[in-house]
């Protein structure tokens, strides 16, 4: 498990669709995430993980780079994989097929509007699909909560994870050096975030 730190970031994110007290549903101009890139028009859905989903979840953890709350996914035993799931963990599906997991943690006080996100998709999907999932998740989160800071932590060696986070607009904040042993070497964790100006 990683702890969140409060490093500063340069990114300021997108402007907000503020306006009169009317609700512009399904108007693409108010889509806070921007348009999805070509070829990633998945229909995303999510649900809490139930016992019936455990087989699908265990299947995801057979991928050697399914770094969801662990740096050694494929060698974790069943009990340990299941212990990584909590009540805030969601099974993410693309067009109805399970493709990954995510969990959102409140970071600091509720009023701070700082969040920490764990998100991992199967290696079967390309990084742009992953970035599309990030964006859709951010749009959903900002729809129902004020978000000032959203942070993710990705291993230095995790090329897919870094590519996806950068594609989704996360700005690099710094590296916590040498805290993970990967492939015989001590490697670091990259902290990335998106930050929005408080609007109220």
């Amino acid at each position: 498990m990683t702890t969140t730190t409060d490093m500063t970031a340069a990114g300021t994110g997108t402007g907000l669709a503020t306006g009169p007290d009317t609700y512009a549903a399904a108007d693409p101009s108010t889509d806070l995430s921007g348009a999805a890139p070509e070829g990633t028009g998945f229909r995303w859905s999510a649900r809490p993980v139930t016992a019936a989903d455990h087989a699908a979840v265990l299947d995801l953890f057979t991928e050697p780079d399914f770094y969801f709350r662990t740096h050694r996914p494929d060698t974790r035993p069943q009990w340990e994989v299941l212990s990584l799931l909590d009540e805030d963990t969601r099974l993410l599906s693309a067009d109805g097929r399970p493709v990954g997991l995510y969990a959102l943690e409140v970071s600091g006080g509720e009023h701070a509007c700082h969040f920490f996100l764990h998100l991992r998709l199967t290696a079967r999907l390309r990084p742009d699909a992953w970035a599309s999932a990030y964006r859709e998740l951010i749009r959903a989160l900002r729809w129902q909560r004020e978000v000032v800071r959203l942070a993710v932590v990705v291993g230095e060696f995790d090329d897919r994870g870094l590519t996806a986070a950068r594609l989704a607009g996360f700005a690099e904040e710094g590296v916590l050096a040498g805290n993970i042993v990967h492939d015989g070497h001590r490697r670091g964790s990259v902290f990335l975030s998106r930050i929005w100006e408080p609007t109220s």
């Binding site: 006080g109 509720e110 009023h111 509007c113 909560r145 004020e146 408080p198 109220s200």
Partner: protein
């Protein structure tokens, strides 16, 4: 500016119990009919904080669906302690709007109005006390920031 001190839940419940008449309707509580244990349970359930300033009790509870909004209460008609609470919430919790529900005729009305709150509505017959049903007034205030 009045000096604020934060009270622990048990002490808050005891202080509310000790002043039951002025604290009726404080954050929806009723120290006349609820004992200290019940008051403490309600304060815990709603995530409320009780503060004191110059002998006046002040209350704050977060709006769980809008973290920038706070529900506030005071036991006094004096605006100074309430103003100190609002300043505290703005500075430390970044609240930008406040709501209060007070029984009609409560001393808090004078403090709220002096602190810029305006009437947001009236809940008819919302509370029963002293042998009859009474209206509850809703006040709100917003600040830019």
């Amino acid at each position: 500016m009045a000096d604020l001190s934060l009270l622990g839940t048990a002490e808050a419940a005891a202080r509310l119990s000790a002043a039951p008449q002025t604290a009726r309707g404080f954050l929806g509580l009723d120290p006349v009919t609820q004992n200290a244990a019940l008051l403490a349970r309600e304060l815990t359930r709603t995530g409320a904080q009780v503060l004191s300033a110059d002998g006046v009790l002040l209350g704050y509870a977060p709006n769980s669906v809008q973290p920038r909004q706070g529900w506030v209460a005071t036991t006094s008609a004096d605006p100074a302690p309430l103003a100190a609470l609002l300043d505290f919430l703005r500075t430390y919790r970044r609240c930008t709007s406040y709501v209060a529900e007070v029984p009609e005729g409560a001393p808090a009305v004078a403090a709220l109005e002096a602190c810029g709150f305006t009437g947001a509505g009236r809940l008819p017959g919302h509370v029963f006390h002293s042998g009859g049903y009474h209206d509850v007034l809703v006040y709100s205030a917003t600040q830019e920031g």
